[in-house]
Symmetry: D3
Subunit: 290 residues, 6 copies
């Protein structure tokens, strides 16, 4: 135990600020989208360990975190290693059967397993799921042209709720399947939003590699603290939100419209961004509210 | 909601320090002895309101506080107002029937009720008890000479446990009774220790008007951070602990010997001393451990 | 065990009369208003012990008694002892802060505690409450002129129900408080009625020092066995019920209108009046029914 | 409702005597052996109705009665009607297959059904059982000479306990069977004792046609109020208890040795003998205690 | 254990056919009417033992069988033995008090007890009931001319449901009673239908001595596999169903109209007819469906 | 529904044989090792679908299957595709970090997911797990030479038991991890045995591509029906069991010694081998018992 005596007044001030959040969020479901980029960065092991520590702390103080992840860079790496070349339409990779198998193996067998393993160093706390487990995510073909790229048609959150009720943190790879058992690869931002909505989550948090949503896409200083659903939808329509921000922004707006109390876009590169966002008045990044 | 953006790194550091304590103490019973002196001070209403806020926060983050209080100065004041003069033996007030009635009325009908009222401004959170309720404290005559001054012979913590199980904070006035229904006034420090022991409390905390236990009674700078039970008992035997500190020291030693994980003597005049003690590594005052 | 052999036929006759009541009232909540006068009488200790014995028997055979008490004579005595003179308006004592403190101390710290103690000689059966505990009684200023005299604005019977569910008898002092924590003294008859109504009690029983409600206030022989709510309200309006009988009569009528099955005004000086009323066909005193 | 105003003092006195018994016996299992003679008497319908009323009252105030019955006179009547002559050995009727069928039909199809019907006029309260149901009574051949007369080898009280737990009163005909499915007729006094013991009953009560056990078999005035197990066993050994009293006395002694708190031999012809015995200090008849 | 190696393919085929029925019927209530004729036949003991084995197997794999039985031939035999001659009106036996007593004794004390005994050779599995138990069947006089022949006016299935919930099989003799306690003999086919309806049974099965319902009463080869309720009612109206088939056909139609999923008329002489009907696609006899 | 009328006698005979097994195995845990070879065969999709159908039927009739699988051929295929060449020591593949990643991706992301998907076509019935989930399998390095090949050091069956309690079938990929989070590839036969033992399973069944254990390895006609643990251990010691049969034989012996009631080695190529083994007297393949 360290023995640094902090200034009691400062400590008390922060605790009095943080404790009501802890009280308020006790038992709350918080869906966290953890991006594949984080794992592809320089010191990915350290970043993953820090993220795992935050999830463990959230769970320890009574929140019920649910992790949803992607894995684009990792899929691309294995495709390259296998010499599989992808066709692209409208900027999206066409997913044939061979590519789908690679995506499944990377997402479920590698990225998911790595996150579960990093959390479980702290105890028997996390369980990996894909959308195929207990038919969590039912999906459908988006378009014949894109191959096995799916759209979410139904989320059955039963297995998530049972694991949460047992004090376990579900970690979810975004593979879904249709009623005939065919698998699909699905956009992870969209899945995170659909799961948050199905769970009636208190919060949906996107850990990204930007500081938040910008009023002016080109001005890093224009990060917004709060936007309403309506404002966000206007930004999507006007193109003020663009690129990779679009599925996140859409997922935020859809989830909040569907009953999630608040959605957040944070910079996952800030150490312990989750804690600062959840337990301080000022928070971090951009909050989307009704 | 304030919007002061704190330094995320500092915030995270303190949260990472505090969260494990919150996790560890969740569900823990913490017996807090709140001194009559605190209520007799200059701005007693403000001090009581701050204390009540801390109790509410502890309860909110999942601890189960139990408050035990005295009321010596308030009893003395009413005795004086009624023109009742007390005889003293060995420095202790002789408690005849008239004096006992005054003590009961002040402790149960005034001090206890004031503390309960201050907490309940925040919700239906506290319930006042005396040792007579559900035969919580069985007492016996200490000596015929001192009149109706009692020693604890049995604590039946059932009513406390039921209230805690219902999410309520018991506030306890230290009047006990014997099997014939005769009431007694009992030292509040001793009662706090006996209750902590009967509950198998995690902590017993004395909020006093000194900074802690001193190695040298005359040197305010000699406050000890930690002592073992054995060291504390030696200090009582040697007279290093003296005066009003003796019943507190004895209660600490007895409770820790009886299974309470740690006992603390804190300066209740430090704002939010309870929070700083419970949720930071360094803590405050003196900790007694096995 | 005594060995008096009673006449089996007579015994059987009374048992066959009483057993169905015991069956019918099992689990029923019975609110008993116990007057301060009873405690102020000559042999108050004996009267209190007999009352306590009845409450213990009721609880033993499965009823769930709730005791509400006043303490006017005892308050007056302490005020006199302290030399505090009261102003009266329309026959009601003006309650300033000093008087309120005296009322709280006497009601909560003495009368309540005495009743609880008398019951608990038989076991850990009773718990004292004031309206401040768990915000049981929310009150509001009746009129600025009368000072801290309150009217009941809300009864939250949760704490009573929990204690009843644990087999404990609540004993209630009629102090309430407002949302800012200010305490008020409240008429005990009114509180008894409001609590009976909030609990959906089976019965509300006033133990008084008269034989019942009289058709002719001046004729002791005109005690009524039964009146309807409507008849009672007419008697209040016409002045046939007057003086100290008015708040009791109003509380009876209000409670029965609010769902209490029956209200009773009995002579508490008859030994074991509660038992005779509850378990025989003829009963005692006056019964108010819809 | 009658309106006879009894003397409150007398009423209170009896209630104060009876209520503690009601409290004490709440939930207690009381096994009542109801003799076939009672049903064979002059006004058997009235006697049965009065008995049924007592059982309903016991159940209503929280006791858990279990009725065991015989039916010797009724079996003899049907045998006579069918012209079946019985051989007797040592005063006991030899039970061949034909006689056994008659006994089963009379006990299960007539006497049992009549008792159940008399109780159920008051509600869905009783369920008839024979020892064959759910293998309640396992029996074995007493001696080849006596035919299908059985001795109890095992009581499995599960079905009785389940019915009691559902608030139902079991009424038991004393037919048992062995593991091959062969039925036997068994002495009802013995079965009552074995069932009381298997249930750990509070009381075993024999309703007979005598006032109790006599110290001198020939002197009706010598009825004993209490005997110990040892004394009773001595009386059986010495022949002081003889004739039809022997199986009752043996069953009392065996049951009390086996854990039943008390066994009673009462005069079932006294109206409501069960109530007087259970709820007054003096009781009726003879009590056997350890 | 036998060691005949069956052809795996055939075994698997039948299991794949049977398992879904076992799954589908798990927990389902199946009311089986077992005719008195079966017990009156040549080798009645063997037939009863085979029937009992089937009931035990059904219960073992999770169905909840309820047995309802008659006993006409057995009643007639005892009446003859007692020399009681019956009057007949419209082919129905007039039931005076003496005849009713015989019917009760035979049905409850003999036939019911025999069935229960045969099942309980396999364990503590069955409990016999008559309609008098827990007021299961309330009946009313059909017509003064027929004496104590009753019509069902109400079925209170509570006692059946409780026994089923405890894993016990109720075996029911079709005696009912009215609110005054008078017993009646009731047609067993009608009772079986009324109980199936009151329980919301999955199936009502009549085990008879014919192969099923015939399209042409005179042509044994015209047994129908399935009929709808409407077709069945038309057959009753047209006289195509006649004689002893009428109450069965009416009970089937009424029960299916009242919510029972399917009713069946099977040949109880086919060994293990119940198993073949319940667990194979083809089944046996005639099925009545909505 | 088919309408083939089978011979009722034959149907009844098989049902009477099968039903007791269904009864006996209700609620029993059956661990099934499903070999990677099965999935690598010609028509692997059809084989997988048939296997999935059996698992669904077992679950439907109340058993609690747990599937453990390997995937050697599939791992070899991807390694070849990626051009990764493996070193072999003593016939075992050395598993470096790259090979381990391939094994994880194939086992967890492909084979496991395929089995879960095939079952879940029938409903939300299966959930995929690896040993990393909730720290199900703790493993340790077997030898530095073999790389990341692990030995099981601990099985924590909590997550399996919770899924089973929710009516879900766990499908387990045999990757484990150590306390530092390092993953290992583990022999699937060994894992199946360890899990059966940890669960106290009723049965452990290996679905292989041979007919059973041979007395003479070279004589296909020498398949043994039953062996004891001791005999099996002797066969391992003597080399009578050899090659790929060794880990299966060892797992069988170890599991049975550890409390599993019986272990089986069956020919998974026989259609519905699981059903025939479980529900007929003769069974299939070789059974190992204490």
């Amino acid at each position: 135990m360290s023995t640094v005596r902090r200034d009691p007044a400062q400590v008390a001030e922060l605790l009095i600020e943080a404790l009501p959040y802890i009280r308020r969020f006790e038992g709350s479901v918080v869906v966290v989208k953890y991006g594949g980029n984080a794992l592809a960065d320089g010191d990915e092991a350290a970043a993953l360990a820090a993220f795992a520590e935050d999830i463990v702390l959230l769970q320890a103080v009574g929140l019920r975190p649910v992790v949803v992840h992607g894995g684009g860079p990792q899929i691309a790496a294995l495709l390259k290693q296998l010499g599989i070349e992808s066709e692209f339409r409208d900027g999206l990779r066409v997913t044939n059967a061979e590519t789908l198998d690679v995506a499944r193996m990377v997402l479920v067998g590698k990225v998911n397993s790595d996150i579960v393993g990093a959390i479980n160093v702290h105890g028997a706390l996390a369980v990996g799921l894909s959308g195929v487990d207990a038919n969590l995510i039912t999906a459908d073909l988006r378009s014949a042209e894109l191959g096995f790229v799916g759209d979410v048609t139904k989320v059955d959150p039963g297995i998530i709720e049972r694991l949460l009720a047992q004090g376990l943190t579900p970690v979810i790879a975004t593979i879904g399947s249709d009623s005939a058992g065919q698998s699909y690869n699905i956009n992870a931002d969209t899945v995170a939003g659909a799961i948050a909505e199905a769970l009636g989550a208190e919060k949906l948090i996107f850990l990204t590699d930007v500081a938040g949503l910008r009023a002016d896409p080109d001005d890093p200083a224009s990060v917004l603290t709060r936007v309403s659903c309506g404002e966000l939808e206007a930004m999507i329509a006007s193109g003020a939100a663009s690129g990779g921000m679009v599925p996140k922004a859409e997922a935020c707006a859809h989830a909040v419209r569907g009953g999630v109390a608040a959605a957040h876009i944070l910079d996952g590169r800030v150490p312990h961004a989750l804690l600062v966002e959840l337990f301080t008045d000022a928070g971090l990044g951009t909050m989307v509210q009704p």
